[in-house]
């Protein structure tokens, strides 16, 4: 799903954010990108959804070489990727339903199709009854679930989450992670940047650790549940 070859990213003023990173994330995986603040996690994600261009190296996302993708093709790449952020990025003066509807609306869906899709997406994240609320009337956890509904509304092949639980307490974080896992269970490749190691230990998955822009760990961590299951057999 994602392959990086010797990726380097240097920002205009010389800060080296990524240094010779090569990695591969398989279709359908649950992958965690970890590392301390400033390690380059957000930068790597931005390269994948083509918010930034690599200074060097190649990045293949779902068969597209994003390093050479013309600007006019970027929207079509983005439509196959759902993206959520730490700060939700919801539009305060739009209702929850309208916030979720952006993608079907730009694709020209009818009002009814938009509403049906949005209500399904909201139901999937457990917010079936909040479509007419405004984002600021919701808790942080609920806002992040709205953002997830927006990202997942058209069943993207890839879901990218940059510190999705960074603003949430442990209980709400767990809910969000459950939803990410659920999306993976439905066939979406999920890539989460987080420094919440507990989450990783609880769920297991493909762990990639960055340190000062270098990839220092690339391992498959088994979920404790799986270990317990094996032990029981």
């Amino acid at each position: 799903m994602i392959r990086c070859f010797n990726v380097r990213k240097t920002y205009p003023r010389g800060q080296v954010a990524l240094d010779d990173v090569s990695l591969e994330i398989e279709r359908g995986e649950l992958a965690f990108l970890t590392g301390s603040s400033g390690a380059g996690k957000s930068t790597l994600l931005k390269l994948i959804y083509r918010e930034e261009l690599p200074s060097d190296g190649q990045i293949i996302v779902n068969g597209r070489n994003v390093a050479t993708l013309p600007l006019s093709k970027v929207p079509y790449l983005r439509r196959s990727i759902g993206i959520v952020f730490q700060n939700f990025r919801l539009i305060a003066r739009k209702t929850v339903l309208e916030n979720v509807c952006y993608l079907p609306r730009i694709l020209g869906a009818s009002m009814k199709e938009q509403r049906d899709l949005a209500e399904q997406a909201l139901a999937d994240v457990g917010l079936a009854d909040r479509s007419d609320a405004f984002p600021l009337e919701l808790s942080g956890g609920e806002q992040q679930r709205v953002a997830l509904a927006r990202a997942l509304i058209s069943k993207p092949e890839l879901l990218i989450a940059d510190e999705p639980t960074g603003n949430l307490d442990a209980e709400l974080s767990r809910e969000i992670v459950e939803l990410l896992v659920k999306a993976q269970g439905q066939g979406t490749t999920v890539l989460v940047a987080t420094h919440d190691l507990q989450t990783i230990e609880r769920h297991g998955g493909h762990v990639l650790r960055l340190e000062k822009g270098r990839l220092v760990e690339d391992t498959q961590v088994a979920a404790p549940g799986a270990v317990a299951d094996e032990a029981r057999e």
Binding site: K46, E51, E52, L71, V74, R79, R89, I91, I106
Partner: protein, 303 residues
């Protein structure tokens, strides 16, 4: 999404945005309407003046006075010369006797006072040139003919209205040019006003624009509402300018009997082509302002 759907979406988003920042939008609309009003006002006034001048030009007559003792052959020679150009419709010779009759009709009192001494008034023969209004001469053609006529020994004096008519035409042209450049200058300023307002709109909507780009909206879709904002503001400005000018015209025309100048400069309103042009000009200026203001913003500013 079909083109019509997209246009509908752009315009409704533009109207929503204008309602949201209605103060700035009002300023933009007024700026563009003032500039178009000024330009259109001068076009209206000078258009009417020009028509008045043309009407006068159609009736323009040139009188060539001959010597008092000119012979019939002299007169015939002159008429032959004057009749040559295609734009000369008529050459009427007024003999001294006819001239005296005209004078008698015009000033009967004076003739009665002069009594029998009619012969005292020694009138020269006059050749009156009528110009074909459908095929008016170039100024140079007219001048050439007059020069040729003046060179004939029998010609005493040439009296024509060309000189002051030419001056009037020049004044009308200058006034029109002044008005149009004033309007054009104001239009440039108004375009920048619209550009600023559109930039402000883009700033107000930056979060939504980021989300649109994030979920995969094309630049056409992201910028469409901003372009529509400029276009709609320009359109409203054009319509407002025309409506104001139309109101002024109606008020002044209704009182035109009271003034001598109103019929000269406000006789007719602008033709529909000019009206359309003004609205199209407003819309284009608005669209241009929007394009200029949005162009500066690089795509992909999601971070």
């Amino acid at each position: 999404m079909s083109l019509w759907q997209a246009i509908w979406y752009f315009v409704s988003e533009a109207l929503r945005g204008m309602r949201r920042s209605w103060g700035a939008s009002t300023v933009a609309i007024f700026a563009i309407s003032i500039s178009l009003f000024v330009g259109a006002f001068f076009v209206l006034v000078t258009g009417n003046l020009g028509r008045e001048v043309d009407r006068f030009r159609d009736r323009l007559r040139i009188n060539v006075y001959l010597n008092v003792d000119a012979s019939d052959a002299d007169v015939a020679g002159l008429v032959e010369l004057l009749e040559q150009p295609s734009w000369v419709r008529t050459v009427d010779v007024v003999t001294p006797e006819q001239g005296r009759d005209r004078l008698r009709q015009t000033f009967p009192e004076a003739f009665r006072l002069l009594g029998e001494g009619e012969e005292v008034i020694d009138l020269p023969p006059v050749a009156e040139i009528g110009i074909d209004p459908g095929n008016p001469p170039q100024a140079s053609e007219l001048a050439a003919l007059m020069e040729e006529a003046a060179a004939l020994p029998v010609v005493e004096l040439i009296d024509d209205d060309r000189e002051w008519l030419g001056r009037l035409v020049a004044v009308v042209t200058v006034v029109r040019l002044l008005g149009l450049s004033l309007g054009a200058g104001l239009l440039v300023a108004a375009t920048f006003t619209i550009a600023s307002v559109v930039r402000l709109t883009a700033f107000i909507y930056r979060e939504e624009i980021d989300v649109l780009r994030l979920v995969g909206a094309t630049e056409f879709f992201v910028r469409g509402p901003l372009y529509a904002t400029g276009l709609v503001q320009g359109l409203f400005g054009g319509v407002l300018a025309l409506a104001t000018l139309g109101g002024c015209h109606a008020v002044i025309a209704s009182r035109s009997a009271e003034t001598f100048w109103a019929p000269l400069v406000f006789a007719e309103f602008l033709g529909w082509r000019t009206q359309l042009l003004i609205i199209v000009l407003g819309a284009s200026a608005g669209l241009f302002g929007a394009v200029v203001s949005v162009r500066r913003e690089p795509p992909g500013t999601t971070s």
